[in-house]
Amino acid sequence: MKRPLRSSFVIAILSTFTLSAHAIDGPTITISGFGTAALTMTDTDLAEFIRPNQSNGAGKSPRTGVDSNLGLQATAKFSDRISFTAQGLVRKVAKDSYGAELAWAFAKFKASDEIDIRIGRIGLPVYMISDFRNVGYANTMIRPPAEVYRQVNGGTLEGIDLIWQHSFGDTTVTSQFAYGNAKTRSPGNSSVEFKPATAIHIIAEHEPFTFRFGRADAKFSVYGNAPLNGLLTTLNNVGLSTVAKDLKVVDCDGSFTSVGMTMDYKGFLIQSEYAVRKTDTRVVMDTTSYYAMLGYRIGKFTPYYYYGNIKQDTPRTYAGLPTTGPLAALTAGVNSVVKSALQSTNAVGVRWDFHKSAALKVQVDHISPRDGAGAFVNVKPGFSGPVNVYAAGIDFVF
């Protein structure tokens, strides 16, 4: 997982930085990586199963693109206090081809034994496992439950955070406060920008429990969503500007509040999150979502089960618009963008730690969409759930 090496090349480049801190030694460079090689398939060809923010997914024929990824991380440690970390991630997101992203690139300053300050491109800690959701090896399940993990797209923040870790007796509390801007590309050449976003992420660990509270707030805008922009233009043209205002996509206020917990006691595993999303635009609906996973570790095998669900808290139709006459089609258009993707999932799987740095996972999801196609994409006429999703993958770290 870890390979410290002294690089004279890097020393040469960075010598100006290191002179004051480590005149003789130069930085220690650590390269590490993670990845998942997986195949995913479903029992229908009438819709495609995706991870959040993917444009294309899996149908009846197995595909690698849904659950596979590869990450590489380099950390240069200049002194006991200052380090620089960059992580590249290759996966399919927004487009139907593998693309490389700079997941993070930040300078970390260790202000004290308990306080770290990071500046640059950092993870946006929206969820309990935000920062390591792409690291399959670090997780029991093959992928984060979509019911919760598709509520906020946006994994990285350009900004600053402060992490304070302190032990109160047997309880270790890690508090993270982040501030910055974020931009996430979405399918169809659109993007979502958070400008600015703030996040609070507090974790209390008391063996065998972990409790987590998270709150993220953002001023957000959706750019380049042609169908949505067309709808808003039409609404304004026909004099329904109040409706257009309710469906605004620029300078919206949003918040995401979540609690979570994990337990790892005598082989019994629990992982659960409950999250509430609120915004002031009807196109990003208010939702409540949750999941709970139960697992049991027997030697190198960990069978697990999870249930996830999402509810919409705002109405699924826009009241007071004509349902007959010339504007009926427009009303249908409005109603189609105020419905969030509702579904529930029952899944079973097993993780097998067959190697010291690799695990094999097999997972079957039984997904039941409600009042629509759920989180499935590229839906064809005649589609209806429930859908079974089969996935097998090997997670590794090095």
Binding site: D131, I163, V397
Partner: protein
């Protein structure tokens, strides 16, 4: 691919078959470190990334004493420990411990860093390091 998985399985099998030694384990720090005694739970937090007050020094994967220390002091198996560190490392929040092959190298690393904490077989103790915990 098949042979690779086969080799991985073989390696995993060999790992499991490695004999667990029943020798006494001691947790060591730099002689200049003011700490004089420590409980297992306190030592464990450094090796699980819960505190960065001390810098943990580890053994390479597969060294027998590593599995024994993980089981007795951290009360986890090595895959669990690896999972915990992979969370810390790939979130950029922590740096995995440096890993060494032998007790001699661990002693050298501990002797070179005032904040280091490591563990060795009791028989390997000498005056370059200070024992702060003996694990039965």
């Amino acid at each position: 691919m098949k042979t690779k998985i086969g080799m991985m399985l073989l390696a995993a099998g060999l790992g499991m078959a490695a004999p667990v030694m029943a020798a006494e384990l001691v947790v060591i720090v730099n002689p200049k470190n003011p700490a004089s005694r420590m409980f297992s739970e306190q030592a464990a937090q450094f090796f699980l990334g819960k505190s960065s007050l001390f810098t943990p020094i580890e053994y390479d994967d597969g060294v027998a004493i590593r599995n024994e220390f993980h089981a007795k002091v951290l009360q986890k198996d090595s895959a669990q420990v690896k999972t915990i560190w992979s969370k810390l490392v790939f979130t950029g929040k922590g740096t995995a411990p440096k890993e060494y092959k032998s007790a001699a190298e661990v002693k050298k690393a501990v002797a070179a860093d005032v904040s280091a904490i490591g563990y060795i077989d009791k028989a390997a103790v000498d005056d370059t390091v200070k024992v702060i915990l003996t694990v039965q």
